[in-house]
């Protein structure tokens, strides 16, 4: 049963990550390959504060979100100058830089050993320790994220985001301050990633840089794209498919040593297949990089 | 059945190109409405008309850059509605797009070689030598980067490039665009020379109406995507009132 809860927690975590990335990539059309970095920044900030400063749970989470928000703003700046694949490369560079820092800044982050023994969080005096309790917590975060993203994309604010995704120049010509919107979305998206990152740190107790690699970023993007970018339910479906499917395969009896690779191979195949035959994903309305413009 | 008969008929007349009721456009925007015209062997046909009347669209549709929506494009008895530009080049239709476009990062010699991409090495060399005799300006600058040529020289290069594959039909889109007045006459004289020397049929789009009318045998005037007039070029050249009516 505990294993079952664990899988659900993982699904929730990836659903939050994909959902927050959805705001950026699916609704605003800014492909980011740095989402695992923000996830990691959230986890490390919260972990460090809990370990070294013994801050309460909520303070840790809040600080993690603020740190990630500021960094998100910085990563968002290039998006005002470069677009599409160049933006993807820029975020990619940031991702590698962030991983390099987590891995090498030993005095702060503990280097490859990472942080160990992060204390169990207490919410209103209740210590959260079991997988079932964490499932409730992550499910709450998941609903919260869904609520935030849904409220944003269904509002006039979200309408502007979609306009920027489809045709930036048209949005500008209608008086929308595109730069402001892009930066805001970068910040919100990073904050949400950091929020679930912090929860993850408390859940997993020991964190190390290998959880926040480029591959992890690509995995998050895959979830979003396969589920469907630009749809509210896409990220959930994507998370379920990509997290549960390999578990099912494992149950069929693949040896443990090969499981990691075959899981990756599976999502590599899925990614290529979807790009070729259904680039908008299962439920998406948006194909990456396709603007509204018809060729003249 | 009827269609193939028509193609046979087109082959019997001396039409190089026959277009019937052609419809075309970009995306949803229809630009050409039932355009029909024909070009005979060794003939220069001018296409004139105000902006946005579909002159360039017509050339692009013929050469296969944009698809024809409806209608027939017949070249030497073959229906070429869905041919790619590469197939058309092999068949003998070449196209010099607007604004003296050349490969500016390639040398003059390389530009000419690209023009004969589908030919064999030997053919390419002999064709290049033949064509260079028509363009002594280029011969002196073979190794120069094409982007560094003057505007007039670039247009000469663009003309030379499309002549390399020994086309039967040459399509030129505003060869005079952006050139100084003196050069325009030079280019027009060159086009006339090409036509008389090689016997290639030419379909030419131009804004400089009087100059192009003096050069052409027949003229097709488009207005809002429809053929407003298709007839003798010299006659229209003398009819100022008619011209003004077609344009303003």
């Amino acid at each position: 049963m505990d294993y079952f809860y664990h899988i659900l927690v993982v699904v929730c975590i990836y659903a939050v990550l994909a959902n927050s990335l959805n705001l950026l990539t699916g609704y605003t059309g800014l492909l980011s390959l740095a989402h695992a970095a923000f996830f990691g920044i959230g986890a490390y900030s919260a972990g460090l504060l809990a370990l070294n400063a013994h801050m309460p749970f909520f303070v840790c989470i809040l600080c993690a979100m603020v740190v990630a928000g500021i960094l998100g703003l910085m990563v968002g700046l290039p998006s005002l100058r470069v677009r599409d694949d160049y933006l993807a490369i820029t975020t990619f560079a940031f991702q590698i830089l962030a991983f390099g820092c987590l891995n090498n800044w030993v005095s702060l982050t503990g280097g490859p050993q990472g942080l160990n023994g992060i204390p169990r969080p207490a919410i209103f005096g209740i210590v959260i320790a079991s997988n079932a309790q964490f499932l409730v917590l992550t499910a709450c975060v998941c609903s919260f994220t869904y609520w935030v993203v849904a409220r944003i994309v269904r509002s006039p604010f979200g309408r502007v985001l979609k306009a920027i995704r489809e045709d930036e120049i048209f949005a500008q010509s209608l008086g929308k301050n595109v730069a402001k919107y892009k930066l805001t979305v970068f910040v919100i998206s990073s904050c949400l990633a950091a929020l679930i990152g912090a929860v993850y740190a408390f859940y997993i107790v020991s964190i190390d840089p290998t959880g926040f690699t480029v591959m992890e970023s690509i995995f998050i993007v895959s979830i979003l794209i396969i589920g469907g970018a630009g749809s509210l339910w896409g990220p959930f479906v994507g998370a379920v498919v990509l997290v549960v499917l390999p578990e099912v395969l494992r149950q069929v009896g693949l040896p443990e040593a090969l499981a990691a690779n075959s899981r990756q191979i599976l999502y590599g195949i899925l990614l290529v297949t979807f790009m070729m035959w259904r680039p908008q994903g299962l439920f998406g309305e948006y194909k990456l990089g396709s603007s509204s413009r018809e060729g003249k | 059945m009827l269609k193939s008969l028509r193609h046979i008929f087109n082959r019997c007349t001396n039409n190089v190109l026959t277009i019937e009721r052609l419809k075309s456009g970009y995306g949803k925007k229809q630009v050409l409405f039932d355009v029909s015209l024909d070009v005979k062997e060794r003939e220069i046909v001018a296409i004139i008309g105000p902006n946005g009347c579909g002159k360039s669209t017509l050339l692009k549709t013929i050469c296969g850059v944009i698809p024809a929506w409806k209608g027939d494009i017949d070249f030497n008895g073959h229906r070429i509605n869905n041919a790619t530009p590469a197939q058309n080049v092999c068949r003998g239709i070449t196209f010099a797009p607007q604004g003296s476009r050349v490969f500016d990062e390639l040398s003059v010699a390389e530009n000419l070689e690209i023009g004969g991409f589908h030919l064999s090495e030997k053919q390419r060399r002999s064709r290049t030598d033949e064509i260079l005799q028509l363009f002594p300006v280029l011969e002196r600058r073979l190794q120069q980067e094409a982007g560094r040529l003057s505007g007039g020289e670039q247009q000469m290069l663009a003309l030379a490039r499309v002549l390399i594959p020994s086309p039967k039909l040459l399509m030129l889109d505003e060869p005079s665009l952006g050139l100084a007045p003196g050069l325009v006459e030079e280019i027009f004289a060159k086009i006339a020379e090409i036509n008389s020397q090689t016997g290639v049929s030419i379909l030419i789009v131009e804004q400089r109406v009087r100059a192009v009318l003096a050069l052409s045998h027949r003229v097709c005037s488009l207005k809002l995507g429809k053929v407003a007039l298709f007839g003798n070029a010299a006659e229209l050249g003398e009819d100022s009132e008619k011209l003004k009516q077609l344009f303003l």
Binding site: S155, P156, F170, S173, S292, E294 | K29, P50, L177
Partner: protein, 259 residues
């Protein structure tokens, strides 16, 4: 409301000595013109004469090399495009720009200015006000769509419209910004005769609402009856301006077209 006779003569937009160079090609050279309140001006000229460049400069998408543009007292050259739209200049594009996958209604709603719901903080704090405003805008958008005969298609995606309807929609978006100076880039090119009449009559009625229009159009027969003045451009220069009749009979214009 302003006194009409006086408003006729007040200058709304002043373009002075504007030049723009694209890698050695003079797209605009010392273009000078002015637009009065409540006037419809038609900009004509051969391809590459600088008409669209002038539009791009007025709306801030391009910065000129030199010159000055003043709109109702504010200098436009220092402002970014979105700001220029906010102070009352709106435009359409030659290669139609619309958000094709959004509904017709959403396209119009997008264009309204000063929406409470477009500020992030308001989304969570002033939910009620945001919703009310959205409802008001929705009503207004519907009446605008009715005006352009697109109300029935309000919930269709913009890409499902015909080309002419898309042009109408882009004009409706322009109107929804509540701008007073409207720049239309080839509003009737490629449009069916029926919709051409719809669009032209829509434009003709704009001055009565205190709006001015500059439009680029090649179909002179259709455009001439509705415009007060024509400006003819050639090679980046403003060659001639005056009543449509005068410009069309101007020797220089004829010469430029029929060289």
């Amino acid at each position: 409301m302003q006194d009409e006779t006086r408003a006729e003569n007040v200058i709304m937009l002043d373009v002075e000595q504007v030049s723009k160079d694209f890698g050695g090609v003079k797209a605009l050279s010392e273009a000078t013109c002015s637009i009065r309140e409540g006037e419809i001006v038609c900009l004509i000229g051969p391809n590459g004469s600088g008409k669209t460049t002038l539009f791009n400069i007025i709306t801030g998408f391009l910065k000129p090399d030199c010159g000055k543009i003043v709109f109702r007292g504010s200098d436009l050259l220092t402002l970014p495009p979105h700001h220029i739209s906010k102070i009352g200049i709106s435009r359409t594009f030659q290669n139609l720009r619309l958000i094709r996958r959004l509904s017709v209604l959403d396209n119009v709603l997008l264009a309204f200015d000063q929406q409470i719901g477009e500020h992030l903080s308001n989304l969570f704090m002033r939910t009620q006000a945001s919703l009310q405003m959205e409802q008001r805008n929705r009503d207004e958008a519907f009446s605008l769509l009715e005006q352009v005969e697109l109300a029935e298609k309000a919930h269709n995606a913009a890409e499902d419209l015909s080309y002419g309807q898309q042009k109408l929609l882009s004009i409706a978006c322009c109107l929804a910004t509540r701008a007073d100076l409207l720049l239309f880039d080839e509003p009737i090119a490629g449009v069916s005769p029926y919709l051409t009449d719809r669009i032209l009559s829509l434009i003709r009625d704009l001055p009565a609402e205190g709006k001015s229009v500059i439009m680029i159009e090649h179909n002179l027969d259709a455009a001439a009856p509705i415009c007060d003045r024509m400006i003819f451009m050639d090679s980046g220069r403003i060659v001639s301006e005056g009543t449509p009749e005068a410009v069309r009979n101007n020797a220089q214009v004829i010469k430029a077209y029929i060289q």
